[in-house]
Amino acid sequence: MTCIRSFLRGSLLISQKKRVNKLNLESVSRCLTSFIIKQDKGCIINRKRYISIVFAWIKYLFTVLLLLCLINKGAESLGYNWQWYRIPKYLFSFDNGIFQAGPLLKGLLVTFQITSISLVLCIIFGFITAMMRLSDSFAARTLARAYLEIIRNTPLLIQIFFIYFVISPVIEIEAFTSAVLALSLFEGAYASEIFRAGIVSIDKNQWDASYSLGISKFHTYRYIVIPQAFERVLPPLTGQIVSLIKDSALVSTIAIYDLTMQGRAIISKTFLTFEVWFTVALIYLVITASASMVANMLEKRMKYENG
């Protein structure tokens, strides 16, 4: 009995404490609010937004700090010796005042080459496959379906190996070409589903209107359906581009000196494991984040005036 009683008392205490905490939070927020109101001359709509933004930033900074502490502690317990000063020369250096790209930047260039070529091919493959799946021909639909199922149900790494070790000796292509082919086939399958969804999402009324004017199926696609579908497809397609950039790291397994492979090479020479992987990850992050930003801008610009 006493045990239960003390437990109850404990929980009561805790709840009281919580209430105190809550009160504190409320008073803090009230302070903030009054401050913002003074600044804003009582703009009620903005008040709540300001508070939520302020709190979001506090939470965010707190999380980042916590993570950094954790990493630092982990490294300390490993006895890791941070040597950030050695990293810049792997990015770039100045030889007699002339800019010299380091291995990481060279690797980045290769990653760029692979992803940009793959991106174009991926969109072409994706578009053709989507049109095949939507076509009236049974053969085309089945073919597209088979391609999709094979690609989506096997790991990308295996596909890269398959193309590099099995197909490339037969048709005599280089590692770079195999990598581009594997990546674009893989991402193309996913892109095709995005395209198909975009095209299917266009209202049947648009088809009716176009057909009723005597416009052919081809021209309806070209002038009416695809322009509208493209806009809807842009956000998910950006996601696909971001995955393409990230997935391109896998081509380092077939001896292509992309960003990831260069990172591995540097580590095997210098043992700067933490610093190099942090740098490589940051570079990927910057590229993918800017890809998303560009897409956002495009999306805004393309939005036709909606009244």
């Binding site: 176009s210 004017l213 005597g214 416009i215 036709y304």
Partner: protein, 241 residues
Amino acid sequence: MIEINNINKAFTNGITALKNFSLTVQRKEVVVIIGPSGSGKSTLLKCLNGLEEIDEGSIVIDGIPLDHQKKNRLEIRKEVGMVFQSFNLFPHMTVMENINLAQMVVRKKSAAQAQETTMELLTKVDIASKAGSYPAQLSGGQQQRVAIARALAMMPKVMLFDEATSALDPEMIGEVLDVMKNLAKEGMTMIVVTHEMGFAKEAGDRIVFMADGEIVEQGTSEKFFNNPEKERTKQFLSQIF
């Protein structure tokens, strides 16, 4: 001008939309089709320009049979304009581009020629100042008038109106009906599905009353509204008026 012979149409879900339906429309005639919803009026219009396939029977428009040949189908669609209940303008194009498109793609006109026709038509439907606007910036009545201009830009021989005023706010119905009445006066062959009895009385040469995919009764507007013969017609009219 239009000969519809014994057409049958059933949807895949088993609902019969048209039963042994036959109708002949003369050149310059304005036929108004009325009837309760679900009686197959809209389906009939969609069959006339091949947006829906008929199961049996034949449709011949201006001497061209509507059959499985792609060429004939496209030819008929060029000659038959259609206006929809939900306007169906292309939202990513301006009013001007909406109307230019088919002229340039189907009729192979140059941009300048198309634009000239477009401006003429926009003046005709009294909306020339909105040529550069997007459909979403227009009111329902304005959108529908643009849709009519778009259909007219193909210089069709027949115009089909599928409940063109049903989706409009009451104060905008008049402006669209006026455009339609003017078209009728100019001698356009028209098939109009509508619930606007005022329009039917004023502009309709012939009224066709449909129920359950069949014609119940038809006649001149005067005879139809004043002396209906069939019991079903009387019942329908008493519900409306």
